[in-house]
Subunit: 158 residues, 2 copies
DNA sequence: ATAACTGATACTATATTGATATCAATTAAA
DNA sequence: TTTAATTGATATCAATATAGTATCAGTTAT
């Protein structure tokens, strides 16, 4: 059971980068290189985020992408919804037949409760919060378990 | 984002049925018919559950399947793990490279926390609990929102 | 003996996910 | 004004996961 697909993972990392460099346009290429995301794949994700008005773009040379929404106004729950679809119990189980099977119905009730818990948790984590966590972690000598191989978001100028 | 796949959904419903009819062998055919699960597909799931020692089988005529574990000892977290794999953040992200990217690392920390919450919730829901919920619901005149089309687990003798 | 079963396995179809390629349009700058 | 850098829009492809089907051998109650 995968919580985040590549799309969501990549999108979050792209937004972390855009959110850390406000006021300038970052090109897809720069983001792809820095975050090690397949270039054309990333471009698709960026366009999707434009459609959802999270970011804006500027065409042409020296063009690129920039935050539109405030990082604190982007919970990762929204990114999950955009790139993985709404959290749902089990397909369109409930459209086809309303409560055709009571056992499903009871199960559904429990799962819906969990869905709410999960969504609430994902709502609390915003891009803004992650950026602050990131800054805090970067202030430390060591961060995350083993040795730090390379910290692109900190070291690489774009 | 689908929480339960068909496999898990079917497996839970099969266990609810087996758990409600203790001490007798129920055939795959009976379960498939009653719960409207594709027969051969269900058989694969039952075999998987035998391997995990949740149920036992008896071959030959009048054979079938029976609970091995107590329903209260089967959390649906275990079924999700069996049929959908362990809950994980995003593929094998952390085996390939330890903390290669700090932004991933920060995100990971948050997601792992949510994973724990989710797993804990799924652990609290056991087959036994669902069976009791089901009995309670079946005692009521109306249960679950709209009209009850058909309640197989209650009405159909097996 | 035979019909009702499970064990085991191979196969097919479909959907989802992940990734690549192409070309037109736009723009900053040489 | 040409050119290189860049996005917009799409089409295509490959890999993987999910869902479902088919077959045959072996076991057992009747």
């Amino acid at each position: 059971m995968k919580v985040l697909t590549k799309k969501t993972d990549y999108a979050i990392r792209a937004l972390l980068m855009l959110g850390s460099k406000r006021g300038v346009y970052l090109s897809a290429k720069a983001i792809a290189t820095d975050q090690d995301i397949p270039y054309q794949f990333l471009r698709g994700l960026l366009q999707e985020m434009i459609r959802h008005e999270l970011i804006v773009s500027k065409e042409g040379a020296q063009g690129g992408f920039m935050m539109k929404k405030e990082p604190d106004e982007i919970p990762i729950a929204q990114l999950i919804e955009i790139f993985q679809g709404k959290v749902q119990v089990s397909e369109c189980m409930f459209r086809k037949q309303i409560c055709a099977n009571r056992s499903r119905c009871v199960l559904r009730h429990e799962i819906m409760r969990i869905e709410q818990v999960v969504n609430h948790e994902f709502d609390k984590i915003t891009i803004g919060k992650l950026i602050r966590d990131l800054d805090a972690a970067n202030g430390m000598t060591q961060g995350c378990g083993e040795k730090v191989v390379h910290n692109s978001l900190e070291s690489t100028a774009v």
